[in-house]
């Protein structure tokens, strides 16, 4: 017996995609396999590592803990959607490059989306708030210090770019 497929309409980074998926397709897999947006990474697939974090209506959520069929009626932003309209690096991406906030880069998409939402909510975080902002994401390479620096640098870049 073949598995029932569902028509889903996913709005990702401002583009509307129509695709057909089984109900059990995780949003993370729909993004990567069905829409070929492989920027979203998959580490643990049970909500712990944060690599798969995307923004759903502007809020960070684990794409491995949402079914694609349940993500209709939302606007999704992945790491691919964090660049500037001209294709240059967005402020959080720029800050990671400047501060050496990544080594292997596996965890990075989840950090970038989480920090983008975090700074939208709290544009001038204290050092402790910057640490707290990334507390739900795991990185096996950097030791986090440079990621915290990148949060603080990104806050400055956003301020500069918007003033």
């Amino acid at each position: 017996m073949s598995e029932e497929l569902h028509d889903v309409r996913l709005v990702v980074n401002g583009t509307t995609h129509h695709t057909q998926v089984p109900a059990r397709r995780l949003l993370s897999d729909a993004l990567r396999h069905d829409l070929a947006l492989t920027g979203t990474h998959v580490g643990c697939e049970h909500g712990v590592c944060g690599a798969c974090t995307v923004l759903v209506d502007g809020k960070p959520m684990r794409s491995c803990l949402i079914f694609a069929v349940s993500a209709i009626d939302t606007e999704i932003t992945t790491v691919e959607g964090l660049t500037e309209p001209d294709g240059s690096l967005g402020p959080v991406q720029q800050a990671f490059a400047e501060c050496h906030g990544l080594q292997c880069g596996f965890c990075t998409p989840g950090f970038l989306t989480t920090i983008t939402a975090g700074l939208a909510e709290n544009p001038c975080p204290t050092h402790d708030e910057a640490r707290d902002m990334i507390a739900g994401n795991l990185c096996r390479c950097t030791g986090y210090q440079n990621i915290v620096k990148a949060v603080e640098r990104a806050a400055v870049l956003i301020e500069e770019r918007t003033s």
């Binding site: 598995e3 029932e4 569902h6 089984p22 109900a23 059990r24 995780l26 897999d29 697939e45 049970h46 909500g47 944060g50 974090t53 759903v56 809020k59 960070p60 959520m61 684990r62 491995c64 803990l65 949402i66 079914f67 069929v69 349940s70 009626d73 989480t114 707290d132 507390a135 739900g136």
Partner: protein, 289 residues
Amino acid sequence: MKPAPFAYRRPDTLQQALADLAGEPDAKVLAGGQSLVPLLSMRLAAPALLVDINGLPGLAEIVVTDAGVRVGALARHADVLSSSEARRVQPLLAMALQHVAHATIRNRGTTVGSIVHADAAAEMPVVLTLLGGSVDVESTAGPRTIPAEELFLGPLESSLRPDEIALSAYFPALPEGAGVAFDEIARRHGDYALCGVAALVRLEGDRVVEARAGYVSVNELPTVLDLTADLAGVVDEASLAASAETAVAQLEPDGDIHATPEYRAQLVRVLTSRVLRAAYEDACERNAR
């Protein structure tokens, strides 16, 4: 690590959702999915049908009156945590919700889902039990209200029937003269607690007339102890230490891969006196206002 196949419905009326559940004995409700999706992905659960309630109208509301806070089934932990009205009427909600997972999980997970999931390591079942709250549920057979003390049957087992949807949870307001506090020890902030304690202390004048504490991750069920007898005289180091010993003796903490029974008993001891003291101070402060 992918879920086994299942049929999926996303009804847009409660009637339809209840009918879908009634029509398939092996169905599960999908709310925030922050506990259910991992269970499905690890194939610890493989229901035939998921009924996604995220399309149902009116369930995201948080209704606050002077009597208490009613949290709808689609209100996310983050919504409840950020409600200043809810915090005013029942401050224990926000105190405990800060410890529920990370912000990213709280953006999707629902408070009602975490209660009916009935995990003894979860904060909100204990909060509901300590406050004497309840859950409103409905099936095609009609609605009913389940008081917290009848809700939790065992690990991950609630008294909801498979065809029932929980519509809301009700947390009574802070009583006159009372104070509350919450604290827990986890390996990292946002992890499930090794031990967590919620406490409510009520004063008449400067005398303690009620002191109760609820325990997260200590036994298989959310447990609430009445420790009034130990604190009814004076509240000082000695009486707080006595209440902590009463708690350890009554709870007989469980051991698991995260903590031996002895270590957990020590956490119960330390947190009981710390959190009862904080709740007592909270009550004194509120009474002074």
